[in-house]
């Protein structure tokens, strides 16, 4: 039998007929929906390159079965930018050189978006480092990544209070 599910992907409602109930969310996104932003790094939930948001929470898409996501709201890196403008986290990753080879970047960015939304880390570099440690970066761009998260967090907090965002600085 063909499992059918309804899912919102990057703000758009999708009717999905799964050819195989064992398909992971990552394979659904990459192989069936043409959304290749999330990457397959280790395929066992240990590198974080496949991080996407399900109902606002970050998940390893490679370990998440698609069939369990009926009615879920999925956000991938492709859905972050609004109306042609980059998301503040994306802008901050550019401003702080938060990548080298770029392969882990979509996962880092989705993880950062959720970390900021979770509100647990605030602007404490130590907690941001800890909160971003599920996303491996082999190039060692950790400084840029942590600075980008700090900067975006401040900008978004600033925006939320109707103020201008602060300029980023190398705080970490």
């Amino acid at each position: 039998m063909t499992p059918r599910l309804t899912m919102t992907v990057n703000g758009k409602a999708r009717e999905i007929a799964l050819d195989d109930p064992r398909v992971t969310l990552l394979d659904l996104l990459r192989d069936r929906l043409g959304l290749t932003g999330a990457k397959k790094g280790c395929d066992r939930g240990q590198c974080g390159a496949c991080t996407v948001l399900v109902d606002g929470r970050r998940v390893n898409a490679c370990l998440t079965l698609a069939v369990g996501l009926d009615g879920a709201d999925v956000l991938t890196v492709e859905g972050l930018a609004q109306g042609g403008a980059l998301h503040p986290v994306q802008e901050a990753f550019i401003a702080h050189d938060g990548f080298q080879c770029g392969f882990c970047t979509p996962g880092q960015i989705m993880s950062a978006v959720a970390l900021i939304a979770e509100g647990e880390a605030g602007d404490d570099p130590e907690r941001i480092r800890e909160g971003m440690s599920g996303n491996l970066c082999r190039c060692g761009a950790h400084r840029g990544i942590v600075d980008a998260v700090l900067d975006a967090q401040r900008r978004m907090a600033g925006d939320a209070q109707g103020r201008m965002g602060k300029d980023g600085e190398r705080a970490a």
Partner: protein, 778 residues
């Protein structure tokens, strides 16, 4: 799968790169952050694309008595299998042409994980499931997993060893007032590029196009052509970018590209081969682990008089690049120090393990870490601060000849180290660490300042050449192509900057396109930190040729002196007239001026006679130094890196942002190598650390708490490099030797610094604990 179909009903939003100052920005920055930067696994698969999976040996050394693939062939979706018999021409991918590395093992397997066959199926899952159904009958043969076992078994060296000698080391040792000897183990390292190996081969007419995640497209082209019996001109290899490589894609990509190409021609369909992470880690080579045995003679101040050292490397079953890697270990066995007499010998030892390969530093790091151990030994033997022993032994006036007889002409270490010593407040902090350790029972601290001197150039002298191709289009946009590959090191960004400056354009007007063997042929691997040095110069030559044609055209048509024509800010200034670049280009096109040019560069001055062990293998040296401070819990062996200060030499940096990233990233990668990353083979020769669950690379939380990184902005390359910059890819990795030595100092405090702890690498908590226990017993 319907990968070739666009996402139904949702055209991708037309994002534009952000406006503004993009001069120093990564050329693909906005693509990366928006998830649109394409890696090979992101490319739409051609209709009917098949997928291959490798079948790997389950023994470390055995004769294959029988191989039954019937169940594999009968599995769902399977198109067929490939074995050694199916390689039409040469079943070999040895990069140094020693004919010791088959694509598929024939009657004998030489390591656990060696490819024996490939299965090709409609989907990747089907191929992987089918590969598990093979039945091989092995007749076990004796195997040797490590250097000692290989020596005991009398296994040969995989390639001829090298000896470097200067003066009479034996006499120097005999005459030295003091001497000591010891042994050091230095572990290997898995590359753990986040993007694993991958090749997508697509038949095209009677040839083939291969998208390969490789640092060396020309070698992939050569290997595929040789295996398939095609002329090189029928094989095109493309790589836009890699998701990390670090040396692991210099030769190791050959296997995957050759198998994908074999299958593509056999079935006349596109074939993709992307091993899963475990297979990637099990079946591809890593950084060599070394055993260093050293004897050093010195005086009472700690001045080195003679060194005799042997560098044995676990090379695995074949030579791969082990010859040049172990050579480079010897080239760096002096690190920054003058050895008046030296005898250095390499031992590229065969073992029944995966064939080790290039990894950032290419043997150099093992040489450097060995040299620093010798310094550390002398410091503990003489009771001096290791930094004082270092300074005493730096190259200098009248003490400037290396063991390979190259003169060190550009030594900036005395100034660089002095500046770092001051900026890091080394002296006061060392005193504070010593004071802390006097009063602290469990937690002990350590601090160390270590230098790096790294030779820049391929020691295979013919590799020191590069080509580029630059096109200017009628709208004034520019396309640049060169032989180097982009793996995250920022090469394309640097080359884009070089070309843009020639035309006085902002960098976003220049696009660097995928490395392609049909655009720039006969390229060298993007390796040895040489990418920008070589390809930047070639691109500069190509762009300058076009600019000079534009100058000559304006000189003739406007009656101005060619030399007075300037290219600035997107404008061309000729006499009193300033015109937009695009307008000049259009006019030049109408006047039939050629707007495309190739460029070529070869490094001058370098030469190397391996038989004699003499020459000038390096065009110049890059330098750096790091001061690291750590805390160790001596009851658990756990440690924290509290603070790191780095001053690094990138010459007149082509792009300081990128270079700082390389320095930080290289340091962190080196720190992983020397502390947390441990490769573990069991007695049967199986790699047991083949996934991130068991193989631990540094995390964001492992980054030093305080991390001050600076470039020595006063440095300028003495040689005529691209804008007097220096190569920066590999040298910073060795700055992490300071972490290892700082950990060692923390442990040494347990025996009041009377004894060198001889801490081997990686300094995992277990190893730190063992060293602590050993010293406590004294």
């Amino acid at each position: 799968m319907n990968r070739h179909a666009p996402p139904a009903g949702s055209p991708a939003p037309r994002l534009k790169p952000p406006e503004g100052d993009t001069a120093d920005r990564h050329e693909s920055a906005w693509l990366h952050v928006s998830g649109r930067a394409e890696y090979i696994d992101d490319l739409p698969e051609p209709e009917g694309c098949l997928h291959a999976c490798l079948g790997l040996s389950e023994r470390a050394h055995a004769r294959i008595a029988a191989l039954d693939l019937a169940a594999v062939l009968a599995a769902p979706g399977v198109a067929g299998v490939l074995t050694a018999r199916d390689v039409p021409c040469v079943n070999d991918i040895s990069p140094t042409h020693r004919h010791d590395e088959p694509v598929f093992a024939e009657d004998r397997v030489l390591f656990h994980g060696q490819p024996i066959f490939a299965v090709v199926a409609a989907t990747r899952a089907q191929a992987r499931a089918a590969a598990r159904l093979a039945r091989a009958d092995y007749e076990a043969l004796p195997h040797a997993v490590d250097i000692e076992a290989a020596e005991a078994m009398g296994l040969p060296l995989v390639t001829p060893p090298l000896t470097l000698s200067q003066g009479d080391a034996a006499a120097g040792l005999a005459a030295a007032p003091r001497r000591l000897s010891g042994e050091m183990r230095i572990g290997g390292q898995d590359h753990f590029y986040l993007e694993g190996h991958i090749a997508l081969a697509i038949p095209q007419d009677d040839g083939i196009v291969i998208h390969s995640s490789t640092q060396h497209p020309s070698e992939v082209q050569h290997m595929v052509a040789a295996a398939l019996g095609l002329p090189a001109n029928a094989v095109t290899v493309l790589v836009r970018r890699m998701g990390g490589a670090f040396g692991g894609k210099e030769t190791q990509s050959n296997l995957f590209a050759v198998v994908a190409a074999l299958a593509a021609l056999r079935w006349g369909r596109a074939v993709k081969l992307r091993p899963d992470r475990d297979d990637d880690m099990i079946s591809t080579g890593k950084r060599h682990d070394f055993r260093v045995r050293y004897e050093v003679g010195f005086d009472d101040d700690g001045r080195i008089l003679a060194v005799d050292a042997g560098f044995a490397a676990r090379c695995g079953f074949s030579s791969d690049l082990s010859g040049p890697v172990t050579d480079r270990a010897l080239f760096h066995a002096d690190n920054a120090y003058f050895y008046p007499a030296a005898r250095l010998v390499s031992q590229p030892q065969m073992t029944h393990t995966v064939s080790n390969t290039a990894f950032r530093g290419f043997g150099g790091p093992q040489g450097v870490v060995g040299a620093e151990r010798i310094i550390e030994e002398i410091a503990y033997a003489t009771g001096r601060d290791p930094l004082e022993v270092r300074k005493l032994n730096f190259y200098g006036e009248g003490r400037d000849v290396t063991p390979y007889h190259q003169r060190v002409e550009d030594n900036i270490l005395p100034r660089l180290v002095a500046e770092l010593e001051a900026s890091s407040d080394y002296g006061a902090r060392r005193a504070a660490v010593l004071a802390f350790n006097r009063d602290s029972r469990i937690v002990r601290r350590g601090i160390a300042l270590t230098p790096v001197k790294f030779g820049i150039s391929f020691t295979a002298t013919w590799y020191n050449q590069a080509g580029a191709l630059v096109h200017v289009y009628q709208d004034g946009s520019v396309q640049a192509n060169h032989g180097g590959t982009e793996m995250g090191q920022g090469l394309h960004t640097k080359v884009r900057g070089v070309v843009a400056e020639v035309f006085g354009l902002s960098p976003e007007r220049v696009r660097v396109t995928a490395t392609a063997t049909d655009k720039v042929p006969n390229t060298s691997a993007t390796a040895a930190s040489s990418g920008a040095d070589l390809n930047g110069m070639a691109a500069l030559a190509a762009a300058t040729t076009i600019r000079d044609r534009l100058r000559a055209f304006l000189a003739e048509s406007r009656g101005v002196g060619a030399e007075s024509v300037r290219f600035e800010g997107g404008m061309v200034l000729a006499g009193d007239v300033a015109e937009p670049f695009a307008q000049v280009v259009k006019a030049a096109y109408m006047a039939r001026v050629q707007l495309s040019a190739s460029g070529y560069y070869r490094t001058p001055k370098v030469h190397w006679d391996r038989e004699k062990g003499r020459g000038r293998p390096f065009y110049y040296y890059a330098y750096g130094a790091a001061a690291s401070e750590v805390s160790v819990d001596t009851l658990t062996g756990e440690h924290v890196v509290d603070r790191v200060d780095i001053l690094h030499d990138a010459g007149k940096s082509l792009n300081p942002e990128i270079d700082l990233g390389q320095v930080e990233g290289g340091f962190v990668q080196g720190m992983g190598w020397l502390t947390s990353e441990e490769l573990w083979w069991d007695e049967a020769g199986r790699l047991r650390t083949h996934a991130p669950s068991t193989y631990k690379i540094p995390l964001a939380s492992d980054r030093p708490r305080v991390f001050n990184v600076a470039l020595a902005d006063w440095s300028e390359c003495r040689e005529m490099t691209i804008k007097r910059s220096k190569a920066v890819g590999e040298p910073p990795l060795m700055l992490a030797a300071s972490v290892l030595e700082a950990l060692s100092m923390a442990v040494a405090s347990l025996a009041d610094y009377r004894e060198c702890p001889r801490l081997d690498a990686p300094a995992t908590p277990e190893r730190l604990l063992m060293a602590a226990e050993r010293l406590r017993g004294r």
